[in-house]
């Protein structure tokens, strides 16, 4: 692998974090007293049903949402707003449709004032890392959903982020592609050892990817259990049929669906929150 890709590792400390969303009578507590830490280079999955506040938590980590109480620190520094050190990957890609793939990936370097040839060269390196050599001249709309998410990952990695925040990044892909992307992400992560906070409501996905799972529960959003996973790495698809995997999956199912009932479906919250989306008009 190219020596040019050296990624810093970030540790995360979250202390007594409360986040309220909405305004006036519609105001509600999206997150209640959430505390946890993530070690540098660790892969943590936040697992929970829709509406449990996991996306809200991610939005706060990215700096797009303000804490109502409590605080977040990355490598000891308080999170005060969005920063390239904390990369955010959404469920649906956010590539600019008007830029070719190579310029989308190079965007972070453009913001840093890197000259065009240099940043395109680096962008091609990262495209190679995510297995997309030769697609640099394409527009995002010409790629499949899985390829678009690979470009998205390359685009955030170019900034050498300390932390990668992923909001159900493979949730919109078909099952086959999702499995491929999970293995691919682990492969990339084995070479670019950044800290990853990954959100999902898919138990298999969380068990397959993470070093540690934080299980969340809705109304108000809070962490109800922590599960450490010591499956050997590198992991491959055979893991999901192992006895230990199945046992842990049953345990997670019990946590998410107590009494075997399905949870009430709630509207999915965005990491930008309703409040943030309106506020962006002023903030930007």
């Amino acid at each position: 692998m190219s020596a040019a890709i050296q990624v810093a590792q970030g540790s995360i400390e979250i202390e007594h974090l409360h986040i309220d969303l909405g305004t006036g009578g519609k105001r509600f507590e999206a997150l209640q007293d959430v505390s946890f830490t993530v070690a540098a280079g660790e892969f943590v999955c936040l697992l929970g049903p829709s509406g449990c506040g996991k996306s809200t938590l991610l939005g706060a980590l990215a700096g797009h949402l303000q804490a109502s109480r409590g605080g977040i620190r990355v490598d000891g520094r308080p999170v005060a707003g969005p920063h390239p050190e904390r990369a955010l990957v959404f469920q649906q890609h956010t590539l600019f449709p008007w830029q070719r793939v190579v310029d989308n990936v190079a965007f972070g370097l453009k913001m840093k004032g890197v000259p065009r040839d240099e940043r395109r060269r680096r962008a091609r390196e990262l495209l190679a890392l995510v297995g997309l050599e030769g697609f640099d001249r394409h527009y995002p709309a010409q790629l499949s959903g899985g390829m678009q998410q690979r470009v998205e990952i390359a685009r955030v990695l170019i900034n050498n982020p300390r932390v990668m925040l992923m909001d159900e990044p493979f949730g919109a892909l078909d099952a086959q592609t999702r499995l491929m992307m999970q293995e691919h992400l682990l492969d990339v992560w084995s070479r670019v050892r950044t800290t990853i906070v990954f959100i999902t409501h898919d138990i298999d996905e969380a068990l397959f990817l993470a070093d540690r799972i934080l299980v969340m529960s809705p109304h108000p959003g809070r962490i109800v259990e922590e599960i450490r996973l010591d499956f050997e790495r590198p992991r491959d698809a055979r893991l999901v049929t192992s006895a230990r995997f199945t046992a842990l999956k049953r345990h997670c199912l019990d946590l998410l669906h107590p009494d075997g009932r399905h949870p009430v479906h709630r509207e999915r919250l965005s990491p930008l929150g309703d409040v943030a989306v309106r506020g962006l008009r002023f903030a930007v």
């Binding site: 990215a62 700096g63 797009h64 707003g81 969005p82 920063h83 390239p84 904390r86 990369a87 955010l88 959404f90 649906q92 956010t94 600019f96 449709p97 008007w98 830029q99 965007f107 972070g108 453009k110 913001m111 840093k112 527009y139 709309a141 685009r155 955030v156 900034n159 965005s270 990491p271 930008l272 943030a276 989306v277 962006l280 008009r281 002023f282 930007v284």
Partner: protein, 285 residues
Amino acid sequence: MSTIRLLPGTGFVAALRTPFGFAAGGGRSGRLLLRLLSIAACAAAWQWASAKHVDLGVVTFRNVPAPSEALAALWSLLQSPKLLQHLSSSVARVFSGFVGAALVGILLGLVIGRSRWAEDILLPPLEVLRPIPAVAWIPLAILMFPSSEVSMVFITFIGALFPILLNTVHGVEGVDPRLIASARSLGSGRRAVFAEVILPGAAPSIVTGLSIGMGTSWFCLVTAEMISGQFGIGYYTWASYTIQNYDQIVVGMLFIGIFGMGSSALVRKLGNALMPWYLPQGRKS
């Protein structure tokens, strides 16, 4: 009835009935042919109605000049040395008004679309001005601008302004907030977000506004050139009315229609050339 004589006829009629067949099989030339046929059919219906002096009560063709008469008027205008002056004066007025409206409309639209404060301050007066038809502006235009040339440009400006303004506002407000958040997470500040996300994101809508604005600018040309002048296609049309030369009115109308359509299409073509990434969604089959 012989089958042999019917066959080509049914084929032709079937093709006319199903433009899909043209699009799939005949391609571009097939569709172009269909469109030209449509125009020819309209002209034929018009010729028939005015030749027969069709009177339907509500609408009567008794005094409407026939296409053949209009063609004769067109022929004499084409041979007149004044035609070029008529056309160039009109094109210059529409172009000046359009460029002014594009500058003002896009600028105001960007500001209004981005800031609620600007929206509250700027949009209410503009919304009051918007429904006022161009013809109602004539007296004020004459009073406000000492030069009648500028008054006329002002009318074409008013015609183009609002479609451009509103489409720009719409385009800016329609930019996906996730793209903005993503750009900020990738290190963009206010200005970079504006230049890298808001502008290109709103561009398709702005081009639509420009294309519509170009059309409405021509739409207001007769109104504008009522103010004065000796040249201009709008003036030619209006003057023909005052001297009751109905054939020439039709010729003037056709010129405005064709130039309006052509310049609108030109704006759209230029816009699409500048946005190679923008593939019109849901192309009709």
